[in-house]
């Protein structure tokens, strides 16, 4: 009997029936139990092995490539791993990844929370169900479609808007510009914002709907307006959910490949000027460059992938920690 088995027997209260099953039944079924349990446990172990293998393979391919890098992998702004000498750096890719994802959050999350509030507390109930289902359905639109839409429609359509931003807010450094408006970090941010919107809205909506009726009534009975009910009862209650939805959206945005690859100009300059024809991301670079990559080039891309993996892992760990701490607060409270 392994550790799990013993805990199980104690934990679930299935003790008596199972004992009788294993002692009265013929050997076949107890052997069946063992085989079945090992299959289930084996699947868990295999899952663990896959994650370990992913990390191990990425590291084993990335390290030799980074060793061959004649530039500083962390700071060099360029990507020529198959040149002589090989030079490549993660900085422009990582910066582009973070900036586009941050833009997506800044634009997407407030709108998503608004949508969630609208569906959960403002729209008439029957309409709300329909709208909720619609947003869920839109979350299923594949990223390639967003990319295509971004490339063919949004890039030209946003030229005017980008020009206006520069004209009226050009004094802020991030809106300075060369005067040409096409693919940019901002366009990628907008595409990502649209992409993460349904998922952030869906999760926030669920937590808003779970707000206990008592808390809403408590606020109302104190003479709160609808918005004050949201502020005192609904939003604080849903805050851990909003945070984890935001972080989840951030993770999605970081790892998004194809849509971003189509609307970023794929250049190697670290810049905060979001209107400039500059920008790249780790995932986009991998998708765009892998076909042309030589031996070191493939290793270099895998190194970039490893950095992306580490970034998303970190983001997910932070999300877990935040949610766990909030949950502790509430568990202590409850």
């Amino acid at each position: 009997m392994d550790d799990d088995e013993r805990r199980d027997t104690i934990g679930t209260g299935h003790v008596a029936p199972r004992r009788s099953a294993s002692s009265l039944a013929v050997g076949r079924s107890s052997r069946g139990d063992v085989i079945f349990r090992q299959l289930a446990r084996g699947s868990g172990i295999l899952l663990l092995l896959i994650i370990i293998a992913i990390a191990a393979f990425l590291v084993s391919k990335a390290v030799p490539a980074i060793a061959k890098d004649k530039s500083n992998f962390l700071t060099f702004t360029g990507w020529d791993p198959d040149g002589n000498p090989p030079k490549f750096g993660i900085a422009p890719l990582a910066a582009g990844t973070l900036i586009t994802s941050a833009l997506a959050l800044i634009m997407g999350v407030p709108v998503a929370v608004g949508v969630a509030l609208f569906i959960s507390h403002y729209a008439p109930r029957r309409m709300a169900q329909l709208l909720g289902a619609m947003v869920d359905l839109l979350a299923a639109v594949p990223s390639i479609v967003y990319g295509l839409f971004g490339l063919i429609y949004l890039v030209p359509a946003m030229a005017k808007f980008q020009g206006l931003l520069h004209k009226y807010f050009g004094f802020i450094p991030i809106f300075s510009s060369t005067g040409f408006y096409t693919k940019s970090l901002l366009v990628a941010g907008v595409v990502l914002a649209i992409m993460i919107l349904p998922i952030v809205a869906a999760i926030s909506r669920e937590v808003f709907l779970q707000t206990p009726r008592e808390h809403v009534e408590a606020a109302l009975a104190l003479g709160a307006t609808k918005w004050e009910v949201m502020r005192t009862a609904v939003i604080p209650y849903g805050r851990p959910g909003i945070i984890s939805a935001t972080v989840l959206g951030f993770g999605r945005a970081l790892g998004e490949t194809i849509a971003v690859a189509l609307v970023l100009p794929i250049t190697f300059k670290v810049t905060l000027k979001i209107l400039d024809i500059q920008g790249n991301s780790i995932a986009a670079e991998i998708a765009v460059y892998y076909g042309d990559a030589g031996k070191v080039g493939r290793g270099a891309l895998i190194a970039a992938g490893l950095v992306l993996f580490a970034m998303t892992l970190l983001v997910n760990l932070i999300a877990r920690a935040i949610v766990a701490r909030r949950r502790d607060f509430r568990a202590a409270a409850a």
Binding site: R7, H14, P17, R18, S20, A21, L24, A25, S29, S30, G32, D33, F36, R37, A40, R41, G42, S43, G44, L47, I50, I51, A53, I54, F57, L58, V111, G114, V115, F118, I119, L131, L138, A140, V141, P142, I144, V145, G147, F149, I152, Y153, I194, L197, T225, K226, G255, E256, T257, I258, L262, A283, I286, A287, Y290, G305, L308, F309, T312, V315
Partner: protein, 353 residues
């Protein structure tokens, strides 16, 4: 008044019950006025463009309506009105691009969404040629997703069974954590992994199967999580009833627990299928490039519908772009159909449970 703490009476003023409220018609009136004035401004000044008009008019309406509310109803009600308007505007702002993308795809996609497109490959078709289709790509994606499903479903369901029925210990928590990590795994990293392992190290060459393997990694967390949720919903009384009849645990799981949870599990599987059907990045790296029909997923480069769209989208030819839109329409149609069926099953399951 008396206060038990013996403190001076509070500074709270007694408020009247009455309060000025805006009548319903006033909102309509303000809206009409604002939209009319904005239209006037567009006619007289250099302002132009439908999108610009609506953006400016809506923004002006939110501000002016809130100001009117402030003047008539006071600060708190003005804030309330402002918040209500913002929430409504947020919904519109979200709906426009989301519905717009689907609508635009249908609009552009219908041009080439025809029999030729669905039954022909791109073999010997140049980018500027008006014919050609996505048959090879559709076949590829269907086969890749089918193989991935065949591998991922039993695997994922067993992991879920382990988590719900067997594990209570540290290892169970670890597996659960791994599932979370996998959920957040960027799809391109899954592709890179198969690329590094299957193609670079095991020298297996590009194939549909390699794509399937990458998709398995992406399907697993969805299947595990939804199956886990569904298994948890199966009441313990059902399990206990079965144990009480002397049925061994594994048979109880197979005969009682799984059938009860089945509709939910099927829903999860369908959602996982819908998700990976549109995945571009992971298959892009490992299936190679093929413009021809290859029915054999185990050998040789194969097409893929998302990759087809990606490649066509990057061409400079209008005909290629049109093919990309037709592909996108095909993809959206399939994915939406899968989602709707999945939700239908979920509803059916809820009624039964």
């Amino acid at each position: 008044m008396t206060t038990s703490a013996g403190i001076a009476p509070s500074p709270l003023r007694s408020q009247p019950l009455r309060g000025n409220r805006l009548p319903a018609w006033s909102f309509f009136a303000v809206a009409v006025a604002v939209f009319a004035v904005t239209a006037g401004a567009f006619a007289v000044t250099k302002l132009s463009g439908t999108v610009d008009y609506f953006v400016l008019a809506v923004a002006a309406y939110v501000v002016i309506q809130s100001a009117v509310a402030w003047a008539v109803e006071g600060r708190r009600h003005a804030k309330d009105r402002f918040a209500t308007l913002l929430v409504g505007v947020a919904f519109l702002v979200a709906l426009v691009p989301l519905v717009g993308i689907v609508g635009y795809t249908i609009h552009r996609g219908l041009t080439r969404f025809d029999v030729t497109f669905l039954t022909h490959s791109m073999r010997n078709v140049a980018e500027q040629d008006p014919n050609g289709g996505a048959y090879h790509a559709i076949i590829g994606t269907v086969e890749q997703v089918a193989i991935a499903t065949i591998i991922a479903v039993p695997f994922g369901v067993f992991v879920a069974i382990y988590l719900v029925e067997y594990s209570r210990g540290k290892f169970g928590q670890l597996v659960s954590f791994i599932v979370d990590v996998m959920t957040g795994l960027p799809s391109i990293v899954a592709g890179l992994f198969i690329y590094a392992l299957w193609i670079l190290d095991l020298h297996q060459g590009y194939s549909g199967l390699a794509g399937s393997l990458a998709l398995v990694i992406l399907m697993l967390p969805t299947i595990v999580r939804t199956s886990e949720e569904m298994l948890k919903l199966v009441p313990d009384s059902l399990r206990e009833g079965s144990y009480a009849l002397g049925v061994p645990k594994w048979r109880t799981i197979v005969r009682v627990v799984l059938p009860t949870a089945l509709p939910g599990v099927v829903t999860g599987v369908m959602l996982a299928i819908a998700r990976v059907f549109g995945e571009t990045a992971p298959v892009l790296l490992v299936i190679g490039t093929s413009a021809s029909i290859n029915y054999n997923p185990f050998s040789g480069s194969q097409g893929s519908l998302p990759v087809f769209i990606y490649n066509e989208a990057q061409q400079a030819n209008a005909t290629a772009i049109t093919r990309a839109w037709a592909g996108a329409l095909t993809l959206i149609a399939i994915v939406m159909l899968l989602n709707i069926v999945a939700r239908f099953i979920a509803r059916f399951a809820r009624v039964r449970g």
